[in-house]
Symmetry: C2
Subunit: 446 residues, 2 copies
């Protein structure tokens, strides 16, 4: 006998997790499509040299890599950004410019598993490449807003987008004579939520070698309670030495957000810098009001050259990545209705009649399925109802339709235990009666 | 510069392939849900010892396997059946009995790539485990019929299910005194579509060491033109020496299929044996009338012990696997309407107005998206329409909405070139007008 073990850091997805996960993924796919993003996919395995470029660094240690049977050095993808860069370069002649894609699939990292961190997880990326303007920036933010309003069923207090612009931060640093320390400072500020203001202050003073400048930076990145987006923008612009390209871009983006009526969802927050050198303009993170400890669940920004490793074509872009597994964990904590429905079917058909041929069930189920009602037929003639209740419990099926040997049909709500019995009429009548009651119970899956 | 190459035997999925593929997968998911199957997922990587069992054989050479950074022997899954067996054993206490699951995801095999064969491909499996009766057998067949009727939009002449029962074949072999050669004979007969009747006859004569018996076997597995399912069943039952468990099971299954009104879709075809020793009862394959060369696109059968490698629990089951990539290739050949729609959006918004702020477009797009209409806004103010047409062509967008500097709106059908112009009224009116025309054009994605 072999122990049916899974690898450390990996996990199975059982129906109670997979059903809501698939529902969330489909909702996101629908939204991306409403905005005209196209789905793509890339191989799980690629040449190591293609994924790692000149290689080295942290990423290198974290990836699953090996030599295949043909002697090729191969690796499993560790994100969806590098494959996207390789993809746009490789299919330059087949893709439109601009190109808008989304990609939802698994990536693998050999990092040490911690709570909530796995070696296999989903990423959900969407990007617009080939254009650098406020409109494209806005469209990514607008798509994010649509996603989160959908996920939280319109409750706009459940999430908040914090946006900033690296260029504005750099103008400010240049204004106070610290532009050459920009990379270190942006990286440090990015950690403010993790290590706290005091520690950031202490380290800033070291980097800037100047207590006053450290204080200035800290005040630049500290939110002012109750200040509007426009006021924050004016204040930061002034601190940065006056209007610049970055401040104007932020103004344009905000005005588009307002004309769409979603300006209120956004905070201008200069502490958002995104650690990665990769980003060059707008940057953003998304926080859940009810789950601050989980950190950002959707982040991204503008970059000025996606595929420079693979092509001479200059490809500026803007994109966002939803941390699907983290978001799902948060929604679980928040008891989101999106995850509440885990049923494998709307109704379970059960026959108590030993001579039942399943012909009746299959006919009625066929009619109900045509109406979109999910019917599971218990595939064994039942002796004890206990096994049926165990089955409906484990599969979270809200209604049971029992056909007994007297030729009666009863529909039972497994939560309220309410039972409605009726005689067997013609198929049409019975189908109508059952579908009415199931739909009225408002427990069928949206 | 790094060459943006993909590995031999792997491929990217571009929007024109990924859009129809995702649509097909969602249709299948919906059907499995209507029947009460639950989705599951398992890791892409597993312990080599778990996937290969005692290992060895053909499979061994074909899998991607390596030693991970922690010194573990790991392998990428090469099918969804072995992980499912491991899954049911590992989660025995969490799953219902019976358990009905579907699993649609990628598997990897290092076999030599041939035409239409890749090293990374999708499998789509659905199974009922924990029950051995005609009803469960029927339900898998009924689900398959629902899938193919949906894929071919009700055209029942487009596909045909060939079913048989290994037990019936074995009764027959036992009747003619050849039961000890059963494995070899079933494997050989399984190749009849590949190597032809004559070659099978020649090899049968060798195995049976008896020309008459070889002839008998060949006649057992040869279809009789125009013969009904019931007649074939009677004839085969007689050849097998009279009624047995297998012939009775086939009769029960067929009667359930008839009571559902889909008996006509099934041929009783004793040449279907499925090469794998794994199967013990009902077996079946699915052929496409318009694409015979592609072979079976959906196959499976009944097995009597799924997870014997991992658990002492006896788990009989019945299941089916759709060859998604092969099916997609066939649908492409058959110019299926399911694959025809590749548009990234229903309508492309374009602004010719240099001073356009995108505010109008974003407002109208927001309203149309609420109605489920997919709106892509061309993110650059347009100088030449050529770039717009190139964009809508490459993304297969059927309608373009152009807003010009005079404040007029024109809606253009990119296929018919028909243009409808109207002045800008209030948002409500304009949204209604656009959505009517788009929906009437009947080119929006189903």
């Amino acid at each position: 006998m072999i122990e049916p073990a899974v690898l450390k850091g990996f996990r199975d997805s059982l129906p109670c997790d997979e059903i809501p996960k698939r529902r969330l993924i489909r909702k996101l796919e629908d939204i991306f499509s409403l905005y005209g993003f196209s789905p793509i996919d890339t191989p799980a395995l690629e040449y190591t040299s293609v994924l790692l470029g000149k290689g080295g660094g942290e990423t290198d240690k974290q990836i699953f890599r090996f030599t295949d049977n043909g002697g090729r050095e191969v690796a499993m993808r560790f994100d969806l950004t590098v494959p996207f860069a390789r993809f746009t370069a490789g299919h330059a002649n087949e893709l439109s410019r601009p190109f808008k894609r989304y990609h939802i699939n698994k990536v693998w990292r050999g990092e040490n598993p911690q709570k909530g961190r796995y070696r296999e997880f989903y990423q959900c990326d969407f990007d617009i490449v080939g254009v650098d303007n406020a409109y494209a920036d806005w469209e990514i933010l607008s798509t994010m807003a649509f996603c989160f309003r959908t996920i939280f069923e319109g409750d706009e207090s459940a999430f908040r987008f914090h946006i900033s612009h690296r260029g504005l931060f750099n103008s400010f640093l240049s204004h106070i004579g610290l532009s050459e320390r920009s990379v270190d400072i942006l990286r440090l500020v990015d950690k403010i939520r993790k290590i706290g203001r005091d520690e950031v202050h202490r380290q800033l003073a070291e980097i800037a070698a100047d207590e006053t400048k450290a204080g200035l930076i800290l005040s630049f990145v500290s939110p002012v309670e109750g200040e509007s987006f426009s006021h924050t923008l004016s204040r930061l612009t002034e601190l940065a030495g006056g209007s610049c390209e970055a401040s104007e871009r932020l103004g344009e983006i905000y005005s588009l957000l307002c004309s769409e009526g979603i300006g209120e969802l956004f905070t201008l927050d200069a502490s958002i810098t995104r650690g990665l050198d990769y980003y060059t303009g707008l940057v953003y993170e998304t926080f859940l009001t009810g789950c601050p400890s989980i950190g950002s669940v959707c982040s991204g920004g503008r970059y000025n050259n996606l595929a420079s490793l693979y092509t001479k074509e200059n490809l500026p872009g803007v994109g966002s990545s939803i941390g699907l597994d983290r978001l799902l964990a948060a929604l679980e904590d928040l008891k989101s209705p999106l995850l509440a429905q885990k049923q494998s079917a709307d109704v379970l058909f059960v026959s108590e009649d030993k001579k039942a041929s399943f012909a009746f069930e299959s006919r009625i189920a066929g009619r109900l399925r045509e109406k979109g009602i999910k019917c599971d037929i218990y595939p064994i003639q039942v002796k004890k109802m206990k096994s049926v209740y165990d089955y409906s419990d484990r599969n979270h099926i809200p209604m049971i339709l029992i056909w007994n040997w007297k030729g009666e049909v009863s529909l039972k709500d497994t939560a309220s235990q309410e039972v409605h019995s009726f005689g067997i009429a013609d198929d049409e009548v019975i189908t109508g009666e059952i579908s009415d009651r199931i739909q009225r119970s408002s427990r069928i899956q949206a």
